[in-house]
Amino acid sequence: MEAFSFGSYYPSDSAIHRLDPRTKLLLGFVFLITTLTVGGFRGLAPVAFFVVLIYAVSRVPARRVLSSMAPLLAIVVVVAVLNLFTDQSGRILWQLGFLQISEGSLHSAAFMACRLTLMMAGMSAITLTTPTLDLTAGFERLLAPFARVGLPAHELGMIMGIALRFMPQFATEMKQTADAQASRGARVTGGPLGGVRMLGSVAIPLFTGVFRHAETLSAAMDARCYHGEQGRTRLHALVFRRWDALAAVVTALLLACVIVVNLQLV
């Protein structure tokens, strides 16, 4: 009955799961930069190896990984198609009016698609192996230095955590409302007017639901003595362990590999 699994946590107890969330966020950032600097297919090989290694260690089932990435693949397709028609070079393979596909654009589209997919796979690894509260705590701690210049780090973290927690809930509620309105004859395919009406009939109950939830949730948080970050402790205090150092070393290795390939030293 699970309508929604994007980015949601897969509970397990692997080494990746046990990493400090700050490590994962920071290394994730390094990973993104590294992947962006890759210049060609050869450079993607170490990145792909790295991603496969992470998933192998994390023991998240392949099906779960794919289902969590599926919605993001739409972006990959769009980017690839855009690349297909721009960035022309080499022999022209196909032409229609101003549209043309050349060897160079085909190559760059494929490259972009692979790179984006790898980036998304890498980032999904973080959300799949980190419970939202840890993620937000890590996020918050990393932003903490900026709190001095007035950035509400804790609040941002909390907002993010609650948003992620309620995501599956809203997805379920939207499905229920859409079912109910469909039972009253609402159709998306009823012309533009029908479409707008259908949209309103689902969106309005969804929004009133959000407000209803917000009201009780805030009361429930109050009742459990929530009063901002002051004097707050954590069940799992964030501590860097040996694993974190190891992860940093592996990521550094990846970075080194990519640099070596980019500089065409091999």
Binding site: S8, P131, Q176, S183, R184, S201, P205, A219, M221, C225
Partner: protein
């Protein structure tokens, strides 16, 4: 522990939600607050942990003044609160993180938090769920996580604000059990509820009305006063109803608020009356319970079928190829694989499995089953929202596998989903009700006619509510508007998913009457409910679902005769049937079939308790009448 003096409160300054409440709750007491919707119960509860501050009067918790801003967090950690809706009070994705949220806010050191989380989860029977995701739990489990989250703050008072009202019977039982254990360990419990059976377990009961304490006393004092309770929009527990019904028929018996006491009282009255040893009879009646298999409906006086499901299976997770593989495997392995003893097997990928079912024209069909038994999936099959993956569904002579026919059937099979008022969206009541007819493409005058007639069918007047926003109406009225929205489609079959969920006893009665009236006016009604009492009172036929299959099917008498089997799948039987079985066990020679309403049980008992006056010699007589009755009954 809790002292309230003249507490008054108003949300808007005009209407007072609380109006001079004086109440003392002792340390270690199990205190229950009853009252209709809008009587001020929840507002009062929010005063007990300083979520609201009184406009006048004082609230003291364990000696601390609740309006002192310095003490707010001391008070909130002393008096913990569990809210009504299991879905919107959990903060975290993982169970252990959620339970830790309170102590984290209190600044408890990490090692101690871990200890408290372990203890709290043990206290609510959820050991081993630490790393589970909260949104994937059942309602009852979520509510127990919320309870654990409160316990981890080590409170001395536990406030439950209708915490059980959105749960199925099994979830409610689990929550109640956890509360009883805590109470036995010395926890003060303040429980706000609509369920009279829960109130019967309390040490003291207060009934709220219009922001005042209308009645206060032990359950025995309060719950037996039928007329006053009815005036306060409440009910008596079924055992009291039975006691009163018997008294009204001239049996000298005291109404008891707990079922066990009532049963004991009647059994004793019977023993005194007959003067005979009662040991021999109990085994006889138990035999009667156990005989027979799951009943099959007899096709004798059946009217034409309006909806037929045959061999419908549905899975949310399996692809067609995997489904075929499953079938092959189940054929080779034989059908009777393991059946989970308690609830459905979470690893089973089937939401529905080989379900065959017929809804006949004009009947009132009850659909029972606990959460996750496949009821909701079944309901969505009835009007073509889901097209069957296997098997076929025919409704009103049309095959729902056909896309066009399925669209036509949607208008003729109206479905009222759970909490239908949440689907209201339009600016005015009229527009909301007109949504369905407009979608059907009807001319404006026909739409207007349908809006008016459907509103009047649910007991609302177009001229008074028509131009109001549906969001200004009270909860009960909103639900009526949502009903009207479905009735405006002029369906032939009305499918209701838990239509009475979350209502207070008076509103519950009103809705049952409303549904019954719609049925008598010629609608075919399918009602999904986990309240066996409601089903017993109004259904012609009941289908019990379990693990995606039809577990039992038949008249209420047939289905409820199998109390043990129903219990084994986590469902109860109506209170009257439960008492009848307990009485039979205690040696009162009752026939067990067909006694699923309080009236029928009372009638039967009257015969036994005063009907025959010639003492022990009547045992054979009774036995004879019992067999006769059984033949008639089943």
């Amino acid at each position: 522990m809790i002292e309230c003096r003249g507490v008054s409160f108003s949300y808007d300054g005009a209407v007072s939600a609380l109006d001079g409440i004086d109440l003392n709750i002792e340390d270690g007491e199990f205190f229950c607050i009853l009252g209709g919707n809008g009587s001020g119960k929840s507002t009062f509860a929010k005063h007990l942990n300083a979520l609201l501050q009184p406009d006048a009067g004082t609230v003291r918790i364990n000696g601390m003044d609740a309006s002192d801003p310095e003490l707010v967090y001391d008070i909130r950690s002393t008096a913990g609160m569990v809210f009504q809706n299991p879905d919107d009070q959990l903060v975290a994705t993982l169970v252990e993180d959620d339970v830790a949220f309170g102590p984290e806010n209190l600044g408890v050191p990490s090692a101690q938090i871990a200890q408290r989380v372990r203890e709290a989860l043990k206290g609510v029977g959820l050991v081993g769920f630490e790393r589970h995701e909260t949104h994937a739990l059942s309602g009852g489990q979520k509510q127990r996580v919320a309870l654990a989250g409160v316990l981890a703050m080590e409170p001395r008072v536990l406030i439950l604000d209708e915490a059980s009202s959105m749960l199925d019977p099994r979830g409610r039982k689990g929550l109640m059990k956890a509360c009883r254990v805590l109470h036995a360990r010395g926890m003060t419990i303040v429980m706000i509820t609509h369920f009279m059976e829960e109130a019967a377990e309390a040490d003291r009961v207060a009934v709220f009305q219009a922001g005042r304490v209308a009645m206060l006393g032990t359950p025995e004092e309060i719950l037996t006063r039928a007329d006053e309770l009815a005036r306060l929009n409440l009910d008596m527990p079924p055992s009291c109803c039975l006691g009163r019904a018997l008294r009204a028929k001239g049996v000298p018996i005291c109404a008891q608020v707990r079922e066990a006491d009532m049963v004991a009282e009647i059994a004793q009255a019977y023993a005194e009356r007959s003067g005979a040893g009662t040991a021999g009879q109990s085994s006889a009646s138990q035999l009667e319970i156990a005989d027979g298999t799951v009943p099959v409906d007899n096709e004798g006086n059946a009217s034409e079928p309006v909806i037929e499901l045959s061999h419908v299976s549905y899975s949310y997770s399996l692809s067609p190829r995997e489904r075929r593989r499953w079938h092959k495997r189940s054929v080779t392995a034989g059908k009777s694989s393991k059946q989970a003893l308690w609830g459905n097997d979470p690893s089973s990928p089937w939401a529905l499995r080989d379900v065959s079912l017929t809804v006949r024209r004009g009947e009132f069909l009850g659909l029972a089953g606990h959460t996750g038994s496949g009821k909701s999936t079944l309901v969505q099959h009835l009007n073509g929202l889901i097209r069957p993956q296997e098997g076929f569904v025919r409704a009103l002579g049309l095959d729902l596998a056909n896309k066009k026919d399925a669209a036509a059937v949607k208008a003729k099979v109206g479905v009222v989903f759970q909490y239908p008022e949440r689907q209201l969206f339009a600016e005015t009541v009229t527009q909301d009700v007109a949504f369905g007819p407009h979608n059907l493409g009807l001319p404006q005058d026909e739409v207007d006619r349908r809006v008016e007639s459907s509103l009047s069918r649910v007991g609302l007047d177009l001229s008074t509510v028509g131009d109001k926003s549906p969001f200004e109406l009270s909860g009960g009225q909103q639900r009526r508007v949502a009903f009207a929205g479905v009735l405006a489609m002029e369906p032939e079959v009305l499918v209701l998913d838990e239509p009475m969920a979350g209502l207070d006893p008076a509103a519950r009665r009103d809705f049952l009457e409303l549904i019954d009236r719609l049925h008598r006016d010629g609608l075919t009604v399918v009602m999904v409910s986990h309240s066996m009492d409601d089903l017993a009172n109004c259904c012609d036929r009941i289908v019990v679902m379990n693990e995606g299959t039809v577990f039992a099917e038949g008249t209420p008498a047939q289905v409820f005769a199998h109390a043990d089997e129903l219990k084994s799948i986590g469902l109860g039987v109506p209170a009257a049937q439960r008492m009848a079985l307990a009485l039979a066990e205690a040696g009162v020679p009752l026939r067990c079939g067909g006694l699923y309403t309080v009236e029928s049980l009372a009638d039967e008992l009257v015969d036994l308790l005063i009907g025959r006056s010639d003492g022990p010699s009547n045992v054979a007589d009774i036995a004879k009448s019992k067999t006769v009755a059984r033949e008639e009954g089943c």
